[in-house]
């Protein structure tokens, strides 16, 4: 008794020590997760990155200035001119509200941070939260050791870093935390069967719905898990408690988010959860009846229900076949909706899923290449027993982290144990038992895990198994010791394996830090390049936006391809025609058509939209590859999708996209070509495009309906103004005649200029 008491005391001290250690480790993990994402601020500056974050930043500014009700009802008239956009009803408010609340709290504590600073650092803060949530989730599944490993891995998994560096103020920044936390609460509810956690789970789900369209992952993955549990015969009341409240409360809460609204019950993404909701009730009924009736009666009841059901089905189907024949369209629609469900699984917004060319034009929605897969997950790829789209990589990352966390910690577990068992066996055998228990705080959790695996078998026999979780701590120890003995590996192998694992981990850390520092921290509005004569900074975007905001009227409209819409409204504060929220395909197609039309037709399109300025991004001078010429085929495709007179083959020579002298006349005369290459030949005399690595096809031309008003330092952004309609209409007499008379005049002009 005394011995066991002492052992208890020792183990409880160890537990306490382990907990304190775990706490500090977690704290450090948080610091790591936060600080590894600060490379962008250190290397560049504290600035919002890329495209979507600028919109979120603008919305947050509006929220902090005008309050939540005005934000909810915000009708933005500075974008999608002249349609406008109801921001409050079309935006996932989670991120904005989170950052707004943060800012409000800080300000009420008299910490006067600007909204921009709060926005920049929201993502790093929430990645710390996300790694803690990972710890909780993995701990719930596998134990604290695995939890800590998974948390470390997640804190620096490159794919997550890519979306959450400081300044990357996007929905994913908070959504990944919400995602992991929701799963944690789901597992917690499963393990405890507590309604309290089920309610918390629904609230976490609500936060996820607020934050990101990716909430459909949750509402599809959890039903899948439930269904799997049911199919494998693991139904229990805890499963029911974990699932049913989530569906009911979660759906109610989700429909409170304006952007989701009735979609929560009407779109196909959510149908799976409702189907499983029905199934789980049927299963619950069956289990209940099984418990009430004797086995014999149960068989009779099953036979009765099945026969009656079959009859009803038969009657129903004959009736429906007989009466509602022309319903094939419905079937097709259903099929389509299934397809759209699949697409929507892969893409975040239901808007976008309708417009395939636009989705495809977003690089995030394209299948990742294997190098990028390796780049983003790195070592974890070997540890995960596993073609996805790029955005899915982000969701894959936590799963990969958790799985590799478990794998790593188990591997360490096995190897260290085999070392421990073999080293002391040389000296003292009695210490073995203590030695086994001592090094890891993992042990109790390990048993929890074992208990869990045994859970299902126990479930069937008795339903009060909850209390058993603590019970086996003592009992299976002896059993597990025998097991552990069997798991012992040779000493040398273990040592080498541990060294290899440490190396692997070190490699992962090095790679992650490198990725965070080099690959993912560029804000994309400021570009840098290293060359033999030092560092070059390309700040053309902000130069152009500043020019717009200082030199144009407040109500002027600026047309550009939609990629630059958010930045133009946020940085230049000018009205744009289309932006990155690609909700109206026709409008985008109109701009695409204008860009792919000849000058006059384009002028008419733009003029009808009250456009004053046209902005194009051109990388040919400095070799910036993601410029408008490279995106141009998408403009043609999207434009041609709505306006059939734009045909993609007209822009391709033998199926090849080229802008050199072999380019088609349509290509060389379209507005995008002209605006990009206007006066380009003046730069080097040859008009050599460094992105396409060729000389352009048409070098000398004049613009008749547009005039160049601004070109940035590296020619990356060029702004043109639409000329007003001609004041007079010329007569039809041939120019040749008047040319002869105008020649002396122009000659004289030249003469006149000479004195100057």
């Amino acid at each position: 008794m005394a011995a066991s008491d002492a052992q208890n005391g020792v183990s409880s001290i160890r537990h306490a020590f382990g907990n304190v250690l775990a706490f500090f480790i977690l704290l450090l993990i948080g610091v790591l997760a936060f600080s590894i994402r600060l490379f962008s601020v250190i290397k560049y500056e504290s600035v919002i990155h890329e495209f979507d974050p600028y919109f979120n930043y603008r919305v947050t500014q509006f929220l902090t200035k005008n309050g939540i009700y005005d934000f909810w009802n915000w009708f933005d008239d500075r974008t999608w001119y002249p349609l406008g956009r109801v921001i409050g009803g079309t935006v996932y408010p989670g991120l904005t509200l989170t950052a707004g609340t943060l800012w409000w709290i800080l300000n009420s504590l008299n910490i006067p941070l600007s909204v921009e600073t709060v926005c920049v650092f929201t993502a790093p803060i929430f990645s710390a939260f996300a790694s803690w949530a990972t710890y909780l989730l993995t701990k719930e599944v596998k134990g604290a050791g695995a939890g800590l490993t998974a948390a470390v891995l997640l804190a620096m998994v490159p794919s997550y870093i890519s979306r959450s560096v400081a300044g990357s103020y996007d929905n994913e920044a908070v959504a990944i935390f919400a995602l992991i936390f929701t799963f944690y609460l789901y597992i917690k509810t499963l393990n405890t069967g507590s309604l309290f956690y089920a309610t918390l789970n629904s609230i976490a789900y609500f936060y996820m719905v607020c934050s990101w369209g990716g909430y459909t992952f949750i509402i599809n993955l959890i039903p899948m898990h439930v269904l799997l549990c049911i199919v494998t015969g693991r139904y229990s009341s805890r499963l029911y408690i974990a699932y049913a409240p989530l569906v009911v409360l979660g759906t109610l809460l989700a429909s409170l988010v304006p952007v989701v609204g009735f979609n929560a019950v009407m779109t196909s993404e959510h149908f799976a959860s409702f189907l499983v909701f029905i199934i789980i009730h049927v299963v619950a009924l069956v289990y209940y009846i099984k418990g009430v009736l004797s086995p014999k009666m149960f068989k009779v009841a099953v036979a009765l229900v099945v026969s009656v059901g079959l009859m009803l089905c038969y009657g129903g189907s004959t009736y429906s076949i007989g009466s509602i024949k022309p319903n094939k369209g419905m079937e097709w629609k259903k099929f389509k909706s299934v397809r759209s469900f699949l697409t929507s699984l892969l893409c975040d917004s239901t808007y976008a899923s309708k417009y395939i060319p636009i989705i495809a034009s977003v690089s995030e929605h394209q299948p990742p290449t294997w190098p990028s897969y390796f780049m983003d997950i790195n070592v974890l790829a070997f540890l995960v027993p596993a073609g996805i789209i790029v955005r899915l990589m982000l969701v894959l990352a936590p799963a990969a982290c958790i799985l590799s966390g478990i794998a790593l910690s188990q591997a360490f577990d096995v190897f260290t144990r085999s070392i421990k068992l073999q080293l002391p066996s040389l000296s003292d055998h009695s210490q073995v038992d203590a030695g086994v228990a001592s090094p890891e705080s993992v042990v109790p959790n390990d048993s929890v895990k074992m208990d869990k695996s045994e859970d299902t078998s126990k479930e069937r026999t008795s339903k009060k198994s909850k209390k058993k979780e603590k019970e086996p701590v003592e009992k299976p120890l002896s059993k597990s010791q025998i097991k552990k003995r069997l798991l012992v590996l040779p000493l040398e192998t273990s040592v080498i394996a541990i060294i290899l694992l440490v190396l692997l981990g070190a490699f992962y850390v090095v790679h992650s830090v490198w990725a965070a520092a080099e690959a993912y921290s560029a804000p994309s509005i400021v570009l840098t390049s290293h060359s033999h004569d030092g560092l070059h900074v390309f700040d053309d975007f902000r130069e152009a936006y500043a020019w717009l905001s200082h030199n144009t009227e407040v109500d002027d409209k600026v047309a550009s391809w939609w990629d630059y819409g958010y930045q133009t409204t946020a940085m230049a504060n000018r009205t744009v025609i289309v932006d990155n929220n690609t909700w109206n395909n026709t409008h985008i197609a109109t701009v695409g058509t204008a860009m792919s039309s000849p000058e006059k037709a384009a002028w008419e399109i733009f003029h009808s939209l009250d456009v004053k300025y046209v902005l194009v991004v051109f990388g040919g001078l400095v070799g910036y590859p993601s410029d408008d010429i490279n995106k141009f085929l998408w403009m043609v495709r999207i434009g041609g999708g709505v306006f059939p007179h734009i045909k993609e083959p007209d822009y391709l020579r033998d199926g090849q996209y080229r802008i050199d002298s072999m380019g088609t006349p349509t290509m060389l005369n379209c507005l995008m070509y002209k605006l990009s290459y206007y006066r380009f030949v003046e730069t080097d005399g040859k008009a050599f495009d460094r992105v396409r690595r060729t000389e352009i096809g048409k070098k000398y031309f004049k613009l008749t309906h547009f005039e160049e008003v601004f070109t940035t330092h590296h020619w990356m952004v060029r702004i043109y103004k639409l000329k007003p309609p001609k004041n007079r209409i010329r007569g039809k007499t041939k120019k040749s005649k008047s040319k002869t008379s105008s020649k002396p005049a122009s000659k004289r002009k030249g003469l006149k200029r000479n004195p100057f």
């Binding site: 002249p82 007079r728 007569g731 008379s741 005049a745």
Partner: protein, 450 residues
Amino acid sequence: MSKLIFVFLALIPLLCTSFSPDRPSDRRVLVLVDDFAVKSSHSLFFNSLKSRGFDLHFHLADDPKIALQRYGQYLYDALILFSPTIERFGGSVDAAAILDFVDSGHDLIVAADSNASDLIREIATECGVDFDEDPAAMVVDHSGYAVSATEGDHTLIASDDFIKSDVILGSKKIEAPVLFHGIGHSLNPTNSLVLKALSASPSAFSANPKSKLTSPPSLTGSSISLVSVIQARNNARILISGSLSMFSNRFFRSGVQKAGSPTKHEKSGNEQFFTELSKWVFHERGHLKAVNVQHHKVGEANEPSIYRINDNLEYSVEVYEWSGTSWEPYVADDVQVQFYMMSPYVLKTLSTDGKGRYFTSFKVPDVYGVFQFKVEYEKLGYTSLSLSKQIPVRPFRHNEYERFIPAAYPYYGAAFSMMAGFFIFTVVHLYHKCVTFLNPAFGGFLWAMF
């Protein structure tokens, strides 16, 4: 103090001569002539301008000192080119300078003649008027000629085919035909800015009267325009005539009898025609301005920055016409306003109170977006009015929808009855004796059944 007065005195000429949008009539007119004989031979026309308060500056067209602008400011409000044969202007003036002068809102009168120079032709072409390319061609009309003792080749024609517009030619009808002797021109029918003020009769054609006609004439019939007026998009007005002698005292004074017509008029219509036409060209007539655009919700006075869908609003604008001396209310029943977003959603004719104010009220359509109040008023002879005012229209706020609608009462009933039922069921379920009902799975099942 004296310094101030000095500054003020120095400013006075500047204030008086500078162009002001409040007084659209021209004041300072530059007249370029081939030789100063024109000044006396066309003195009736010039005197009528002078008597109306114009300040005429005569220069030879090749005078090297002439300049249209100095330090970026135009020195004149209008230009009269009575120099059909000039090949090159003096000073810094050339065709481009004259067209720039027009494009910055100034008026122009061009008189060509049968041997018009390329320079004059180029200016005319740029304005949309194509003179007959044969330099020796004249307009000949063997049935619509003016009876005269001296000229027998029927190149002096009498035309009474005027443009039908009271704004351009005045309300008083021109009784006598107008005498014309010169080159004809044609207009592109698709050109919407140029108008035939005086056209030739259907029997006219344009050819060299001294040579035998070998090929069919390029210009025939009433497609020949003798005098054309152009109103550019910036409301600058241009008069182009194919004949300089039309403006001459001789034509102004001479009597006219159209061939085949028994009536002989004591005096040709030239004087009245050009006096009225010059009034129009120099913006003494037909110049509109719109001011004081107002819009607000019905029952409110202040202009909102945004409307809501289905708001009722009132729109008003004041339109005045320049009479040469003052702004008079413009009265018409065809001024329309559009509520426009890519296409007009509302198109309403404005009613007027006769004092220049036009007003209407309408309901904002059930569409949100960035709309414009647009008044596009383009009427023959008048300057075009183009007003647009941007105004966003927002959807309902979250608390502006109706709270309780009768159609929804069944659903409220369903919701509340289910709540009550669930409550009763819970009570029964929890406090009933039957043990089997304690099974939570069954409870959940029944719950879902509802």
